[in-house]
């Protein structure tokens, strides 16, 4: 059993974890305080000046001090768009994982505890869902959505749609993880002890078993956030994700893509670097978390 103190100690003794943690923290803080950090608000049309467009980063010829990383085709500062975009990417990533988590954990708990045909049914559904790639489902769903509604409605609801679709598409991962934990826990005698005093099934499931199945859920959550962010970035790159006037990192990469060879490479490059860094930090932390919480890799001093 790992305690908070043990956990902190392990964290502080692992340079990779600290590094990834710091990077993640910086990006999150940057995203939260976007309005205060970004020199301009790139979505305020009044602040934009088309004369500022296509300027290279400030240290190069033609650069301007106001726009540290240059500007894009509309005259928005690349740094500012990245700051806001990171926030949107994170929002979608975390939101999607919350949806996946709630749905997956509930269904996994049910399947594992009840067993029988409920278990068989839910697991077959999960198998079917897992065999369809999330990206493919999302592309189809979003394409339909985009075709069905006009551009303004799409722009307003894109973020919810993305969270919902990526969330619902990935519930099997959480469900299976929780289910296998539940299968292990439900044969333990503390569950019998709870049933002996007559606790109803839902209290046993939610009150006793669930808290003991959350460790693996925590581990996969971090990695699922990274996955969700990448999925959204891919969708946005394909034009099916966030619109260009409310871009996530993926849409930023997209809108700069056409300019790579025509000279304004900075519009794509910097968002791409930030995206990779964000996903890498999440993955590293997720891996570290998995190793720390793995009871088989327990070191003697826990």
């Amino acid at each position: 059993m790992i305690t908070w103190q043990g956990f902190l100690k392990r964290f502080l003794s692992d340079p990779v974890a600290i590094g990834a943690g710091i990077v993640l923290l910086i990006l999150i803080v940057m995203a939260i305080f976007a309005p205060f950090i970004a020199p301009q608000n790139p979505y305020d049309l009044l602040q934009l000046n088309i004369m500022d467009s296509d300027m290279p980063p400030s240290w190069r010829d033609g650069g301007d001090e106001r726009f540290w990383l240059g500007t894009d085709a509309q005259g928005r500062g690349v740094f500012s768009t990245i700051v806001y975009g990171t926030g949107i990417s994170l929002l979608i990533g975390i939101g999607a994982v919350i949806v996946q988590g709630v749905l997956g954990v509930t269904l996994g708990l049910w399947a594992g505890y009840k067993g029988g045909w409920i278990d068989s049914f839910l697991m077959r559904m999960a198998d079917i869902q897992m065999s369809l790639s999330t990206l493919m489902i999302a592309i189809i769903a979003l394409a339909l959505f985009k075709a069905a509604f006009d551009a303004n409605i799409y722009a307003d609801y894109a973020i919810f749609m993305l969270i919902l679709i990526i969330g619902v598409a990935e519930w099997p991962k959480f469900a299976r993880t929780v289910r296998s934990s539940v299968l292990g826990e439900k044969n333990k005698e503390y569950v019998d002890a709870a049933r002996v005093i007559g606790l109803p099934a839902r209290k046993v499931m939610w009150g006793h078993i669930l808290p003991n199945t959350l460790t693996p859920v925590l581990v996969i959550s971090t990695i699922q956030v990274a996955e969700a962010i990448m999925t959204e970035a891919a969708l946005s790159f394909l034009g099916l994700g966030m619109p260009t006037d409310k871009p996530s990192l993926g849409s930023l990469i997209r809108s700069g893509f056409e300019f790579i060879f025509s000279g304004s490479w900075w519009i794509t490059l910097y968002p791409a670097i930030v995206l990779v860094t964000l996903v890498l930090a999440l993955n590293l932390l997720g891996d570290w978390l998995r190793d720390v919480l793995n009871p088989k890799l327990r070191r003697g001093d826990d």
């Binding site: 059993m1 005698e189 019998d192």
Partner: protein, 327 residues
Amino acid sequence: MTESASSPIVETRGLEMRFNLPTHFLSREKPVLHALSGVDIKIEKGETFCVVGESGCGKTTLGRAIMGLLTPSSGEIYFEGQRIDTMDEAARKPVRADMQMVFQNPYASLNPRRNVYQTLAEPIRHLMPEKSSQDVRAQVEDVLDATGCDQSWQRKLPHEFSGGQRQRIAIARALVTNPAFIVADEPISALDVSIQAQILNLLNDLQDERGLTYMFITHDLSVVEHFGDRVAVMYLGQVMELASTEAIYRDPKHPYTQLLLDAIPSLEGGSFDAPREPGELPDPVNPPPGCPFAPRCPIVQEICRAERPRLRPVGDSGTLAACHLAE
């Protein structure tokens, strides 16, 4: 036999437990595991009733059925004269406060995420919701004292304790609703030898102080001899012999009981010198007709394979044995 003045505190009649084993949905065979095949026992108030047997005999299933963790396939279970196996939850609640269980594995019987106070308070809060939080706290503290636990343990989590300490906490949990009857399922098997004596003494003391009735499930016959008042010896889901502890050790009537007692290693040595025929437990999925012990019995006759023997009085010490040939 004299009629007892009071009725037994726990009684089972014709208790049967059958489990359908999982099979491929296309297969013809539907194997059924017969865990209990007609068990009749009566446990008297205040006694320590031991149930012994080897793996697959059904002793744990019996304990779980009595506690309501399993629904009997047929038969009846009575507690203090009331039929409990068909009760709905609302009616069963007050009964649950009176019947509690101590489990075998101290490392799995406490929820690892709940501290000692939460674990001990839960039964009271659920079964006696009318109690105020001061009452609950007082009860928890009282039961911690009674089981030799320290009050400072309340805030701690199970992983901070050793096996013996955890078992004390588990016993405290069983006592917290002031039950009259406790099923103890192999409560000391998982503990180190020098701790076993501590826990047994504790159980003994608690029984004296509180007038508890125990159903003590174990495979350790030396504990039974020391601790038990009456013993039921089970084999393959049936009771083979039911007698007072003293009678069973002095004069076991059933061939299986004799085999069991003969297998206990003695500190004097010498019992393992003669070679022993290997005997395997038959398959509880397809029990043979007739006596379940027939394949292994040294005095088996035709009738044993054909007809299942019922428990009948044998000898004059009040022993009941399920054997055609015992006397």
